[in-house]
């Protein structure tokens, strides 16, 4: 359930099913929500947003969103743009991965230690973006 009372930043991950990078985006979002910025970030259920979930769409219109996309198709970013708002920040898993060539997910089901480390790096970038948005 989204909380409209407190100021928060939405994190939207593509969760793309075809690629390991989709799983990385998903786990990175959960690390932000569960560990790094639990009181400042909420997640947007992308399938619900895309299927027309009014509460999620209203949240995206009213609050800043950080998107995490697995690939260049940038489905999460497009989804936010389709709600009439530009994401406050966009993170692309493959771009971050290019900077850490040793970090790669083992598969789309199991990220493995290197994939998890990549997800954590991405989560840290997202957390910094949230801090910037909140003026810290």
């Amino acid at each position: 359930m989204l909380n409209f009372e407190a100021f928060a930043v939405a994190v939207a991950a593509c969760s793309g099913e075809e690629l390991p990078e989709g799983t990385v985006s998903r786990i990175a979002a959960r690390i932000v929500l569960d560990e790094l910025r639990p009181n400042r970030a909420v997640t947007i259920c992308l399938p619900l947003l895309l299927a027309g979930g009014e509460q999620d769409r209203a949240f995206v219109r009213d609050f800043p969103t950080v998107v995490i996309d697995g690939c260049e198709k940038r489905c999460a970013e497009k989804s936010i743009l389709n709600c009439g708002r530009k994401p406050a920040a966009s993170i692309l898993v493959t771009e971050v991965q290019a900077k850490y060539s040793d970090l790669k997910a083992e598969s789309r089901v199991e990220l493995g230690p290197k994939g998890l480390e990549l997800a954590r790096k991405i989560a840290e970038i997202v957390a910094k973006e949230i801090d910037k948005i909140m003026g810290e």
Binding site: A13, L19, R30, C45, L46, P47, L50, C75
Partner: protein, 140 residues
Amino acid sequence: MSIEEEYKVLVIPCSGIGKVLGTIARLVAYHVVEDLLPRKTTTMCLPLLVNGDEEARKLVKEHPCITVDGCGLKCAEKSVTTSGGKLMSSYVILSEVARERKEGKKLNLGAIANLSSDGGELAWKTAEKISIKIEGSLKG
């Protein structure tokens, strides 16, 4: 994405990120397409389909689709049907959980990023059920 065989069935989960049910739906799809029926099924990115990707829309129109949703909002099913897809069957993990609990099982499904053994077992059981359905449809 390429589909080499004409009879390939698409298994499309919601992958909802707000509930553990979405994680189970995603794992169910992977069990079917990677472990149980790798030559007869494949999956696709749901956001790609809903954002109107032409190739994704063509695939759901031309191939039978099975959706696996976490909750009763049925986002994957809605997305496939509104894209004009051929829906073969749809499954909801919440209904599978209710069925198990009705049989007296106390399920602890675990966390969104870390399923428990109960969550993993439910995913496997549901994947087997879906595979049987697909096999039956392909024979029939």
